[in-house]
Amino acid sequence: MMRRVEQFQAARWAEPLIMQLGTQGERGIVPPAPDEQIRKAAGKATARIPASLRRKAPPRLPEASQQTVLRHFTRLSQMTMGVDVTPDMMGTCTMKYSPKVNDHIARLPQLADLHPLQDESTIQGLLEILYRMNRIMCEIAGMDEFSFQPASGAQGIYANACIIRAYHESRGELDRRREIITTAFSHPADAATPAVAGFKVITLYPGEQGYPELDALKAALSERTAGIMFTCPEDTGLFNPKLPEFVDLVHRAGGLAAYDQANGNGLLGIIRAGDAGFDMCQFNLHKTFSAPHGAIGLGCAAVGVKKHLAKFLPNPVIAFDGKRYRLDADRPEAIDKIRAYLGNVHTVLKAYAWVMSLGAEGLKAVAETAVLNNNYLLAGIAKIRGASIPWPTNPHHRLEQVRYSWEQLAKDTGVTSDQILVRMVDYGLQHYMTSHHPMLVPEPFTIEPGESYSLDELDECLETLRRIADEAYTQPDLVKTAPHRASVPRLDEAAVDDPAKWAFTWRAWERKHAALAD
């Protein structure tokens, strides 16, 4: 049965800032004190601090009881729409169910209380998980070796850019190969991180079918090409059928091909990066592989490479001699460290448990169901007044997500995609994503339902969008002034971009407001 979306009201605690709570002298916890013998032997602690570095005034931290702190942050959590609370179908984010059991396992002391530099003999279990997951990812991606060191998709793509750099450097061609090609509907990190790694970035724009044409690639390729950061499907959900030709042409030009598989949820068990000829790829374990997104992180990018690039993966890698697992950092051609130690290993553990629950058949069911759910929503959204689906002449089905447009609705009503986004929250749904930059689709909205929402929830999403579209045509001001039932009403949004008003800390706010009051 579908929820009665119009009855929703978000928690609105009007909760003060933690800096405004409590009373002088209160405290939330007592740290363990050293015993008298230690205190006697060591003497006054401050005497051991160089005078130039002794703290003159204590930090102005909250002084509040434990329950005050607990309640405060619990209330804040209640004003946050995590996937555990409500469907989140934000495009490009692959929001799905993060199984509770995996989180419970990851919080056991056998993982939570491990130091990353413990003797290998005491972390055999951790190394075994990393090793097993490496083998699993190699099979899923058709690659030869993986690293889990990068802590996000962006950092994973950056790692790929560094591997491309190291590869050409090792061949003495880096001076010449200065260009990396990417596509306009890929994640901004596909353009940004190669630029950070020192490359000039060439962006291919979509042709008539919604994805770049081979001719555009040919025009961009040259002896300066270092590689391509390819996303397929891009954020449009359209799979580019010329993918093998793209990879082939880049190879012929002497470049490497990296497959950004952040949008890979619809492809598990369907195609593999390695089979398509890619030299490297990257999956987000916090997206496709179910590890929770952690309010914007604890992420992990699984970066996979073919054999000829394995020597460039960052140190250390896990080696296994059939009996013992060990960390191998004696690899002189490895790129520099991307993240400290081994990365977000708890995220890898959760992804491993997820795969072990599903197996090969389950992963394929994930992919097919994600694509099915997406096309079900598409069929419904196509019927909503004012909504449209770009590139209508493309005859193929979309895969796991769709970038839609409210262009017609905006023309008819003056209501924008950004305003509809906010109105969604009034109905108790996490809002959709509009679009990454560049905003090529007018009034864009991007929806990716994933595999874990029920039919009722998909219908609820459709019903909500339909209602809001109707509101836009009949009472546009209701949408334009939203939110009305969220945790906070409409804000002064311009202030956050104004140097005179923005405040990224409470102390900055106090200073600026004292100045205004004067």
Binding site: A45, I105, T122, A151, Q155, I296
Partner: protein, 465 residues
């Protein structure tokens, strides 16, 4: 291959035959497989993935995964004295209680209206770090201290138009590798010697290397070798006098007792959040931050999202938004000079909880207690024949270098013997810093009581004999 209906998994609704039928009819295709019509047939995998057989029951899954994890011996079981960038502190129960809440744990990219609470928690984390470091702008979390330091020195290069970064020769080798890799396309990283006796930065070497090409002097308080260098304010002054920016890296667990770097002139402060309520998580507990003065030219160079406080115009109630998003790689794409993405926000929220619980008094007691314990430990260990502890004369907080040269034993051999008694010894420095001989970096925190430290000293005495 899953049929259209028939395969049902608890994580995947819409696999039941009835649901499938309804959906396929709505779409107008016969089978879910038909939806892959854009993919060339030659590309499609013609066989099932060769994966381990799935474990359908949650009980069985737990048994399997926990069985593997049982091969670990954690620091809850062992007595741990290893830190070196990831430190075992006490984690208050309320920290875990908050960061396990599904609302936070499974939230992602919702903004002002759907994730009001998340943004408030992150704003509070920014604010509390701002109080600790004495600066008005604090970033949302970065991946780790190293990533924060990378971004900070890169900011300095752009702000000064210069291309040299001076770092202490005591800097952790992995963090140095991160920085070298990150800055490779646009700057060079030059190490400044440390004083062999005190362990502090050698200010004569600094003077020799500081020049009109220096974009940033990066120093750490405490240093990666544990030294609390009283010369830090002077180093900051010297860097700024040459037109370079002073970037100070901190372990925030020191800042209840150590001066806020913003108060001695640091331009940018970076550091590691992990000590503030995060379990070590095998290194997954890390998260960093960047802080600076509130000047538009600094703010313009941040790679990170910055959460700003704002108000409801009608009644002045507080709300939050992401400030100046167009400076980030999300807008700049190919023109970006740094990048941002999913980072470690859950740990940022947790740090806010931790600092709220601790308050000024807790942070002071924590700092003082650690200094006293570490001093006691160094003194106890230093009494062992052939062992020099601390190796350096400089002040220290929770970490100190112990030298074993005169025992004739390697650190590896000593640590092996300690482990046999259930003790994780200091981090072996003999490969990373050969000039220090057979040395190890030991870490003592508030979790250690006198019996623990005495046990270490006794075990070390046996191990070196």
């Amino acid at each position: 291959m899953p049929k259209d209906g028939g395969y049902v998994h608890p994580y995947i609704p819409n696999t039941s035959p009835a649901a499938r039928r309804r959906m396929l009819d709505a779409i107008g295709v016969a089978s879910a497989a038909d939806l892959y019509d854009a993919i060339p047939n030659a590309l499609k995998l013609k066989r099932p993935l060769d994966l381990p057989p799935p474990i359908a029951s949650e009980h069985g899954l737990r048994k399997h995964v926990e069985g593997i994890l049982a091969k670990n011996k954690s620091c809850a079981e062992l007595l741990n004295f290893r830190g070196a960038g990831c430190w075992q502190h006490y984690v208050p129960a309320v920290c875990d209680e908050i960061n396990r809440r599904g609302e936070f744990l499974t939230a992602y990219a919702g903004w002002s209206y759907s994730d009001h609470g998340k943004l408030q928690a992150i704003f509070e984390y920014q604010s509390l770090i701002g109080e600790l470091v004495g600066l008005d702008v604090v970033s949302t979390p970065t991946y780790d201290w190293g990533a924060a330091a990378d971004s900070a020195v890169a900011m300095a290069c752009r702000l000064t138009g210069r291309k040299q970064i001076l770092v202490p020769a005591s800097m952790d080798r992995a963090r140095l590798s991160q920085m070298r890799g990150f800055t490779k396309p646009f700057a060079s990283v030059i190490e400044v010697a440390i004083d062999r006796k005190s362990g502090a930065l050698d200010r004569r070497d600094l003077a020799a290397r500081l020049s009109a090409d220096t974009a940033a002097v990066y120093l750490e308080v405490p240093s990666s070798l544990g030294i609390v260098d009283g010369g830090a304010p002077d180093i900051v002054k010297r860097a700024r006098a040459k037109g370079a920016l002073a970037v100070v890296g901190v372990d925030p667990s020191t800042l209840g007792v150590l001066e806020a770097p913003g108060n001695y002139g640091a331009d940018i402060v970076v550091g590691e959040l992990q000590p503030l309520g995060m379990h070590m998580n095998g290194g997954g507990g890390l998260a960093g931050f960047i802080a600076s003065r509130d000047e538009p030219r600094f703010v313009d160079e941040y790679p990170s999202f910055l959460i700003s406080l704002t108000q409801v115009p009608e009644n002045g109630a507080f709300g939050f938004g992401v400030g100046t998003l167009d400076r980030t790689s999300y807008h700049k794409r190919h023109a970006a000079t740094d990048y941002y993405g999913t980072t470690q926000w859950l740990w940022g929220i947790t740090a806010a909880v931790y600092l709220s619980l601790m308050g000024p008094q807790g942070m002071r007691e924590l700092g003082e207690g650690i200094i006293q314990r570490a001093a006691y430990a160094a003194e106890r260990i230093g009494r062992i024949k052939g062992v020099k502890a601390p190796l350096f004369t400089g002040a220290f907080f929770k970490e100190f270098v112990v030298n074993f040269d005169r025992t004739g034993k390697t650190v590896a051999a000593i640590n092996k013997r300690l482990l046999r008694q259930g003790i994780v010894g200091g981090k072996d420095l003999s490969h990373a810093f050969p000039a220090l001989g057979h040395s190890a970096l030991f870490c003592v925190t508030e979790i250690h009581d006198r019996a623990d430290i005495d046990r270490l000293a006794t075990a070390l005495k046996e191990a070196v004999s």
